[in-house]
Symmetry: C2
């Protein structure tokens, strides 16, 4: 049986960032740049005022103070979005608003609060042709230089950058309304089994609901992929073969099946997978999730297939461990880590297998510390053990018991 690391490394060797596509700016959110984005302009594009106040020459107010104000002639004003109609010359100042371009000749801005206008109020000073400056400033004070944020010609966001709201803002600020990102992977999802009943059909004796199709589709969406739901394949060669080919024809980049990959001669799934491609391994040394198939299907192109276990808990843990990193890789992401916290384990946890154990836990604050408790019965059919959990405690293969009171690292799932 292959270890979790070996399985993951082997699987991920078969994935790479998908080809680039140009998308509208907001569609790039949570995707990864497939190009170095070069700024064609400075940001800000021109020297401008960082404050509402008066623009002038620093030299003119070198000795200004509250006790010895310097009076300057007001020669106009300039609002954001407009340009000064004349230059600031020695002894003059121009009223200026935040973001407005610096008038030619001006090299500093004094904010209203440090002028007679600020002290006496706008109402009292409006219409006066002079303003008194109450402080000395250095050249460039309260001025934002052209290119302070971004310089024309600069690679402002390199290929590989994950696009968040801040990056969307950066791209907008340099006028990019489209950008090249790795396209989202299409993930075919096929549930298998004669026991499965679709959600909109009546249930019958011996049958269960097809839940894996939905939890897998949700997990694909959450990771950034596009789920292609193929429905349920029955346990016969014709139906399985037809549905797998349908997925391949739907241009899947990854194929997820659930169930049919453990030991047992009703598992026709394995025969069909071997016929439609080449399967590389069938088991991983983990619990839950021991049955885990990986191989390559032959369609118009070769498509990696992950055969997830049928037990719903195992399917989710295997998805988290193998499918999520594969999807993130295709998106161009390189950081697969979940946030982690350290918590005090509140009960003994046993690992009776010699496999890596993924224990579902609930982490909660108690007094000054974080406490982790298991979510009860950890059977691989007990899906509520995952829905009650906000984290995973990973117990290594060679550890048989973790005692209550131990400080443990928890991988947090689906942080808001």
């Amino acid at each position: 049986m292959i270890s979790v690391e070996d399985a993951r490394n082997y699987i991920l060797k078969h994935f790479a960032p998908l080809e680039a596509e140009r998308v509208n700016l907001l569609d790039a959110l949570n995707r990864v740049l497939a190009e170095d984005v070069i700024a064609e302009m400075n940001v800000p594009p021109f020297n401008n005022s960082a404050m509402d106040g008066y623009a002038m020459r620093a030299e003119d107010i070198a000795h200004a103070s509250r006790d010895h104000p310097v009076a300057l002639q007001v020669i106009g004003d300039v609002a954001a979005g407009y340009t000064a109609t004349r230059a600031v010359e020695p002894g003059t100042a121009m009223r200026i608003m935040t973001g407005a371009p610096m008038p030619p000749g001006a090299d500093t801005v004094v904010r209203f609060e440090e002028t007679s206008e600020g002290v006496q109020g706008r109402a009292a000073t409006k219409g006066r042709d002079t303003v008194e400056i109450l402080v000395a400033m250095k050249r460039g004070d309260n001025e934002r230089a052209a290119g302070e944020d971004i310089r024309a010609g600069q690679i402002v966001l390199p290929r590989g950058t994950v696009v968040r709201a801040a990056e969307i803002g950066v791209l907008a600020s340099i006028g990019k309304n489209q950008v090249a990102t790795h396209r989202r992977p299409r993930v075919a999802i096929l549930a298998t089994g004669d026991e499965l009943v679709a959600l909109d059909e009546p249930i019958a004796p011996g049958k269960i609901r097809n839940s894996n199709e939905y939890s897998n589709a949700a997990a694909v969406l959450q990771a950034g992929g596009i789920p292609i739901r193929l429905g349920i394949a029955r346990d016969n060669i014709a139906d399985l073969t037809a549905k797998i080919r349908a997925g391949l024809n739907a241009d899947a980049d990854l194929f997820l099946t659930s169930a049919g990959v453990s030991v047992g001669d009703y598992d026709i799934v394995k025969d069909v997978l071997n016929a439609e491609g080449a399967m590389h391994f069938w088991q991983v040394k983990m619990k839950p999730g021991k049955p885990l198939a990986f191989g390559i299907l032959r369609g118009k192109k070769e498509v990696p297939l992950l055969g997830l276990p049928g037990n719903p808990v195992s399917a989710l843990i295997s998805f988290e461990t193998f499918a999520r990193p594969a999807i993130l890789t295709m998106l161009g992401k390189t950081n697969f880590a979940r946030p982690t916290v350290r918590a005090i384990l509140d009960e003994d946890v046993e690992n009776s297998s010699d496999r890596r154990n993924f224990i579902r836990v609930r982490v909660e604050q108690r007094d000054d510390q974080l406490i982790a408790r298991t979510t009860g019965e950890q059977g691989s059919g007990v899906l509520t053990s995952v829905s009650k959990a906000n984290g995973l405690l990973v117990v290594p293969e060679n550890v048989t018991r973790v005692r209550a009171g131990t400080s443990v690292e928890i991988q947090m799932l689906d942080w808001n």
Copy 2:
């Protein structure tokens, strides 16, 4: 000036979870249940086998061992999705697959590996009418009881549950293809300023790109809201009034403006907001983000308005601090916390203001510890200081300096 806590508490008093709507199962992902979901069936619906093996009566194999195997008559087999056609009686066993209903009479399952079939192989034993059992088992071993995961009548997911992939699976397992969730908030986004130019228009002297509209829309999407982009309002009463009314007519649940809320007489925005509603405050004791308006617009209903600052960094930090919790509240979420890490600060950080300082930092692993460095120039116009950051260091109002080497808590932004 009002503190960050006071502002946030005051603002959030004006928000509550929005009304419920029934959505298709996969559309519930990342939303919050607005109903207690009650299971109408057991999961699993029937006692079934946890293993591939043989079902029998525990009593019959009470003394079985490898040295003293017990032979049982094989009376048939049962696959997942089917029901046994006859009962298991004393001295008999039925071949059974994982997930198949337990045949009447059987109370335990012995997996193949512990039978003559497992030892000798299927090929050698196929067709034989007896099987030898090599272990004793307890009643109920390798059997999953009906209702082990979920009991009929139980509240399986209470109102307020955030729907993740696991919850989607739980809902599917009890046959829910629709569920009641709080609806997603509609967030009107209005950029203001004569200096702004849309992304698809030529830029002119004194003008800058309208980036806040896009970063705000992205942040709204990321938080789970629906952005309603109203474009750019010019700095005149007619245009501002018309665009605000357009937003109200578009059934906004929250109104976000950017710019026009700081001190300065070109700020017609304030006059219009006061005319279209009642503004409650205009400033918060934080840096960046001091100009922050909050009030209530009067439309068909009352709509809270957050007037974000015009500086792009300030706008993002203010969004994070106030708009994101408001959107999450409307979605029904109660946990607004970002994941945090402790890191060693790699340089002195000054807080020259008496305001709460939100320093953009990059946290990286160095040797065995996490190191946090500022992302360079922290000016409120330097949007790349946010795009380079993966976390925020929040320096309290009364702290003027945090020294290099200090262990600090970092709020991590946009974890993958």
